[in-house]
Amino acid sequence: MTPEQIALVQSSFARLGPELPTLATRFYQELFGRDPALRALFTTDLAVQKVRFAEKLTEIVRAMPRLGELLGHTRALGARHAGYGVRAVDYRTVGDALLAALAAVLGDTFDAPTREAWAIAYNLMAETMLEGAASARPIGSQ
């Protein structure tokens, strides 16, 4: 990522402010709309899930400029998701849902450069989460 892209991600995220819960709601709508089967992977109450999503996203965006710190969050998160049965292909669906939710909530201010910055940021998150998932995945028997 470029420093400008990191700044774009952080400033656009800050603009959400009180709309953060709306983003979370919209994200899960977009996600289950794209792949209803993913719903089965969430065993917690969705309201609780939305709060956790908002907290994690906030932590990750804040850590974005410092890779070491970012990795601390994403690897652990990825390892946990592997336990839920999330696979590599699901990460693409999640990314699409996140970008769509951001576009819906941010409206016109979600312009092309902002969108690109988020796409790259998400790819970085996803790759490092997957790395964490790989090292934590239960080993299959023979």
Partner: protein, 877 residues
């Protein structure tokens, strides 16, 4: 004691890793095929798979194909061999099946039955024996194979076959997207990069991961890529080279002398033990090479290798030959002093000595040659045995080399080597195989049947063991059959008394063709079917023809019996099978037989295509005899199409191929028909007569009928008496139809000619049917039966339309349609759908006149309404 460094990140490959995990754990797959361009990350992904497997308790191995390791069978996969090439058996042979099984058992024991996850890098460069062993171990569940194939290299048939059968997974890797590249840079550098530098990396590498790896590590090493206040900048904006190989070359070129020695050693002899390299190189050198991403050190077994196969290629290409030689010989000596002579190390030593252009242990070469032979890799057999000094060759080794030379189409050398082998002491079994191979080479390779018969007779005088003698007798019959003597071949086959299965198979191969050619097509079919059953039941290593030969013989017998549609169906099915198995000689015979069937069917353009295919394949694979046959067929097809120059050209081409007796009389159809289209009818007739006489004297009864019938067709000469005799001695309806046609033509009997057309049409011989119908029309016309004549003409035209543009003298011509100018004009308009009234208006005639002309045209053409008229005129009458 591995040096720990942050690893180069893996980006965009997680889904592929999951495919591997699933394939490994499901138990349904034997392996994974990784396909993609150079530098896309196949090796890296394979390593990740291997690490994951190791972490989950699987033993792992890594082998790499290269031009060097392919110097000796199994040279690439020494790591998997428990006991080198095994102990030689009697006659110095290596029992491949036993060696494979021994290897499987040893791996099974060593790893307590756990599947060994084995990475095979660049499998396209593996020798055939290595591939076969890997395939065997994977099929047995002893290993899980991860094979990489570079785009543009041929993926081995064995692996693509397994993949098609769903027994292997396949992943096609692509270069990274821009987003993935940004992630990779971010993770590799540990922080953000300045926008211009990021764009530069994208524009130069276009997402090729190895390229990115080389460029980033190179720029870090040279100080061009620097961090300032947490952001990476590219200081030196010299345009980076756009060629990956150049870039790798620059990186290697910048190494210190000590580091260079290490990578050179690895490029030639990898993998090497970490312990050894640490003593061989000054402290810190290995660590710096690992940090530079040039070498990898496996944690599990402490083996060091170059990080990427491309590094090895670049280093080897830049290394002076003498330096490489010195390194290889020094390593060979080091290994020789520290390892037992017969273990896997012997194989590595031999590979290095071969690579150095030196002389390895002949025993290893010979054992390698046997393995290569079992894997049908005759080029390798030749290279290995030719590295053994001549005076050290024994009879069995001369046989091995002679056979390889024969298979490679180097017939003169094969003759020399096999003759040399016959002069050496040997067992009777080896003596027999030397004789059989040498006579086969003389007959099929050198096209000298007399020499072949002499070699065979000489061997029969020496060999005493009865089953071996019978094999020689069967071989004698084979030489006679395929040098143009079916009658003598049948007589020789009578001498075989034994009932051993192998002899029965050889007898069936020769017998089926001989029986068919002499007119016993039903017996031929039975023989071919029984031969196929015996042959597939044999299933051992024997070096006789491919089992498909029996199918080819059935096609031949069906053709001779005039069962053309069945012959065509069977041949097409067979051709498809042997094409997928890549058996060139069988492909040639199927194509040639399809050409033959098409010729008889009158589908002359199709015949031209099949014969051209057969001739091309025969040329590529250096089968002189079959090529001559195919060129004859090709010239015949051209002649039947009226392509005079092309026919003459193929005949000229044919003179460059040695004479070939098999179906000799039939080959002369080409000469006769070329004379016909060149307007030399007397030469043609002369050629038909002499070829028929040759056919008669050698027992080619069905060919004789073909030749005599063609003589009748083209010159009107009465050959009916002999054709009738042939019809009585052959069981072929085609021969019978020819005889009836000739008799009807002689009697100018219109009805009988019509019947002959019906006979040919029923057999699917459309050109002959068209000619007979045309003859019938002429006879009807002569007898004054205009209406019947017109009907016959129309039939002749319809039949001729199936003949793909054939232009034989017996075919109907456009001018033969007996319409007057006005009749034709009116008929054409009516056929277009105009009413009589419209036609009358257009031509300024009365409707009544138009109708009169139309009625005449209907009568002449033998039709009764406009629809039929349209069809007849549409057919070009």
């Amino acid at each position: 004691m591995a040096i720990t460094l942050p690893r180069w990140p893996l980006v965009g490959r997680r889904a592929e890793l999951e495919i591997f995990e699933k394939a490994l754990c499901s138990g349904e797959h034997m392996g994974l095929l990784l396909h993609g361009p150079a530098g896309v990350g196949k090796t890296r992904l394979a390593d990740e798979c291997r690490e994951w497997a190791a972490a989950s308790g699987h033993p792992t191995e890594h082998v790499t194909g290269s031009q060097t390791t392919a110097l000796l069978p199994l040279g690439a996969i020494v790591a998997l061999l428990a006991a080198g090439l095994g102990q030689p058996g009697p006659d110095g042979q290596v029992n491949t099946v036993a060696l494979f099984e021994e290897t499987r058992r040893a791996l099974h024991q060593r790893h307590h039955g756990r599947r060994v996850v084995t990475v095979a890098d660049d499998v396209a460069l593996l020798d055939a024996a290595s591939l076969a062993l890997l395939g065997y171990l994977a099929a047995q569940g002893t290993i899980f194979l991860i094979a990489t194939v570079r785009t543009g290299d041929p993926a081995p048939d064995l692996l693509t076959g397994l993949w098609r059968d769903g027994r292997m997974e396949r992943v096609d890797l692509e270069d990274l997207s821009r987003t993935q590249l940004d992630t990779l840079l971010h993770l590799a550098l540990g922080g953000p990069i300045e926008a211009g530098a990021g764009r530069e990396f994208w524009e130069v590498t276009m997402g090729n991961p190895l390229y990115v790896h080389e460029l980033v590590l190179g720029a870090l090493g040279s100080g061009a890529l620097v961090e300032r206040s947490g952001v990476w900048h590219l200081e030196d904006r010299r345009p980076a080279t756009s060629r990956l190989l150049d870039l790798v070359g620059q990186r290697i070129g910048g190494l210190s002398a000590e580091a260079r020695s290490v990578v050179e050693l690895l490029a030639l002899c990898q993998p090497l033990e970490l312990g050894y390299l640490e003593t061989a190189a000054p402290f810190g050198v290995l660590e710096s090479l690992e940090r530079a991403g040039l070498v990898t050190i496996a944690v599990a077994d402490g083996e060091v290798r170059l990080a990427h196969p491309l590094h090895g290629e670049v280093i080897r290409a830049a290394m002076p030959r003498l330096r490489a030689r010195a390194i290889l010989l020094a390593e060979a000596e080091r290994l020789e002093t520290s390892y037992p002579a017969h273990g896997p190390a012997a194989l590595r030593i031999a590979v290095w000595r071969l690579d150095a252009g030196g002389r390895p242990d002949p025993a290893v070469l010979v054992r390698g040659a046997y393995l290569a032979r079992d894997a049908q890799d005759f080029r390798l057999v030749r290279r290995l045995i030719e590295a053994v000094p001549d005076e050290q060759l024994d009879a069995a080794e001369a046989l091995l080399l002679g056979e390889a030379l024969y298979e490679l189409g180097v017939f003169e050398d094969a003759e020399r080597v096999l003759a040399l082998g016959q002069g050496l002491p040997s067992s009777e079994h080896v003596a027999l195989r030397l004789a059989v191979t040498r006579s086969k080479n003389a007959n099929w390779g050198l096209c000298q049947p007399e020499t072949a018969l002499a070699i065979n007779a000489e061997a029969r005088a020496i060999v005493t063991d009865q089953p071996l003698v019978e094999q020689l007798v069967a071989e004698e019959a084979s030489i006679l059959m395929f040098s143009g003597h079916p009658d003598r071949a049948l007589a020789v086959l009578e001498r075989i008394t034994g009932h051993d299965q192998r002899t029965r198979v050889v007898r069936a191969i020769v017998g089926a063709v001989a029986l068919a050619a002499t007119g016993r097509t039903a017996d031929a079919m039975t023989a071919a079917e029984a031969g196929f059953a015996d042959h597939t039941a044999l299933g051992d290593e024997l070096a006789i023809a491919h089992p498909a030969t029996h199918i080819i013989n059935q096609v031949f017998a069906l053709t001779e019996a005039g069962r053309l549609a069945e012959a065509e169906r069977l041949a097409r099915a067979g051709a498809e099978i042997v094409a997928s198995h890549r058996v060139p000689i069988a492909q040639i015979w199927f194509a040639a037989n399809l050409g033959r069937v098409a010729t008889l069917q009158g589908r002359v353009a199709t015949a031209r295509r099949y014969y051209a295919e057969a001739a091309g394949l025969a040329q590529v694979n250096r089968f002189g005899g079959p090529r001559r046959l195919a060129l004859s067929g090709l010239a015949l097809a051209h002649a039947l199409l009226g392509e005079t120059d092309a026919a003459a050209q193929e005949l000229a081409e044919r003179t460059t191929v040695p004479a070939f007796g098999f179906l000799g009389p039939e080959q002369q159809l080409a000469d006769a028909w070329t004379a016909i289209v060149s307007r030399r009818p007397r030469d043609a007739a002369q050629r038909f007569r002499s070829a028929a006489a040759q056919a008669a004297s050698t027992g080619h009864r069905i060919t004789e009928s073909w030749l005599l019938h063609d003589l009748m067709r083209t010159s009107g000469e009465d050959t009916s008496a002999r054709l009738r005799e042939l019809a009585e001695t052959c069981d072929s309806p085609l021969v019978a139809a020819r005889a009836r046609h000739a008799m009807a033509a002689r009697a100018r009997d219109a009805r009988a000619l019509s019947d002959a057309a019906g006979d040919f049409e029923a057999l699917g011989a459309m050109l002959l049917a068209a000619e007979a119908a045309s003859g019938a029309a002429e006879a009807f016309s002569r007898a004054g039966d205009r209406r019947a004549a017109t009907a016959a003409l129309r039939r002749a035209s319809a039949l001729g339309a199936a003949c793909e543009g054939a232009v034989t003298p017996g075919l109907v011509r456009e001018a033969a349609v007996p319409l007057s100018g006005r009749e034709r004009e009116i008929a054409m308009l009516a056929a277009e759908g105009m009413t009589s009234k419209d036609i009358a208006e257009r031509l300024y005639l009365s409707v009544r006149t138009v109708d009169n002309h139309l009625q005449h045209a209907y009568a002449k053409l033998g039709v009764s309404n406009r629809a039929e008229l349209a069809r007849v005129l549409g057919n070009g009458t």
